[in-house]
Point group: C2
Chain length 294, copies 2
């Protein structure tokens, strides 16, 4: 498959938001599909997507959307993945492929794969792209270009389908990497899911202590809390689906923060500098590297 | 004083880093001083500052630097303020003015003012400008333009000197605001000092859990931890000088984070969404406002 682009006569995008809409645009730009049907809950969003040419047609019925589709992409908030798969499974075309763009894999890929009928393969994927904007109005064809995509097959996953999903993301410009679904969740729990919760908590700390405090927030606070602008319904779902990794990251974080605060309490300048310096060095080490948007 | 710019025959900048160097450049650009003498520990940094025309001359001896100076600006890491003031106090010219650019005021302004000889006034200031870069190589004349500067006189402070300090920062383009030194520290403990410690702790969490994790950090993590690139010696001093506010912010933050993590543990989607939504709304409310760099 490497070197040749996949081609899909009909693509169904379930959830035409920032990721789903951008994938639709990228598939079209790279001529990977003939026809794209969008599906979602917001009629207004679907109308915008159609009027902008992001999708060719839309329906609010998932079972109708997947009919005759060669590939189905789950791009809603992750909470909806399993109920959606259950609702459209009997309408999937034999030989078709289902994938997703969800930020959590371990708890989900097994459940979704188990729901697939004979002749339909599921392979999970997590394109590390996006941002705090929501809705197809923010979609753009180059959202994925140059970014990383983690593909998370299970030992039971169909290898041909896995190769097709890899080829799909490569065709829209991503650097792909295979990873165990649970290893993925531990990793992204640490560097993405838990840090989002910290950002929300930081904002709540400022507004909870003093209403006017946040008006004095400078660029440091704003950068540190930019991800707190992310849609709460999306990140609620991600945090809950990746509970174990989030809770274990929180445990490590509490210890790390406690060490720093303990050094402040004890007025221990040298211990404090060691802790801050360790962080500065590690953060500086990634400064020059390619950045995945998320 | 309002409307007329202050003028200083000789300015002494103690600590010619990002802030001190930028102030020197801004004073010169706005023709507020005839001559600038720099003082610091690093001969290399002082040579760079002189060769770039940021300062006219330099000395490593603070007592020599302040001789005949009309205004002395403390712009070193804050830990050095009190020892420096003690070392140069007897060399200050009668009628001169001492000010500073430190991020912590409550614990410092009283001590510095108490060290001033008769005929010399001290008024503290905190220009909310800067960034994670260090040294005069990063200095620029427009660093302060359009940003906020908090002036923190005490009830005992000389009002004429206070007016001069306000006029100085306005002349280089800042929006000035007077505030009680301790109120300043509580506020900036919440929106700046403690969030820096959180950023350092977040990086240590990622590298402490899994060495390769940080390589997977996307733009969200990077923004959230950009302030962990800030110089550890500077922020160690700030955290220790503003211990009480930092510790009290940490206490509020632990409660806020615990509420979020508790909702995750209990799988309480609605409680979690309420907490995330509150933060998103508050963060969104400041998105359109003028940003102070720091």
């Amino acid at each position: 498959v490497s070197g040749s682009n996949p081609a899909f006569a009909k693509t169904a995008i379930i959830g035409v938001g920032l990721l789903g809409g951008s994938l639709a645009m990228a598939l079209r730009q790279h001529r990977l599909t003939d026809r794209i049907v969008g599906c979602g809950r917001s009629e207004e969003n679907l109308c915008i997507a159609q009027s902008r040419g992001i999708i060719d047609a839309w329906t609010q019925n998932p079972a109708e959307a997947v009919q005759d589709a060669d590939i189905v992409v789950l791009a809603t908030p992750i909470e909806a993945f399993v109920p959606l798969a259950a609702s459209f499974r009997s309408h999937l075309k034999s030989g078709s492929l289902v994938t997703d763009v969800g930020s959590v894999k371990g708890a989900l890929v097994g459940k979704i794969e188990a729901l697939m009928p004979d002749g339909v393969a599921f392979v999970g994927g997590h394109p590390i792209a996006g941002g705090e904007e929501a809705g197809c109005a923010a979609a753009r064809a180059d959202l994925f270009a140059g970014k990383r995509c983690i593909i998370t097959p299970m030992p039971t996953s169909d290898r041909t389908a896995c190769a097709t999903v890899i080829a799909l993301w490569r065709a829209v410009g991503m650097r792909t990497e295979e990873m165990d679904p649970f290893a993925h969740d531990t990793l992204y729990g640490l560097v993405s899911h838990f840090p989002h919760l910290v950002a929300y908590a930081l904002v709540n700390t400022a507004v909870g202590s003093d209403e006017r405090a946040i008006d004095y927030a400078g660029s440091g606070f704003r950068d540190a809390t930019r991800i707190a602008l992310s849609p709460p319904d999306l990140w609620r779902g991600i945090a809950l689906a990746n509970r174990d990794a989030v809770i274990s990251a929180a445990r490590v974080f509490r210890k790390e923060l406690d060490s720093i605060i303990f050094a402040v309490e004890k007025n221990d300048a040298s211990a404090l500098e060691v802790l801050l310096h360790k962080a500065q060095k590690a953060r500086n080490d990634i400064s020059g590297k390619t950045v995945d948007e998320e």
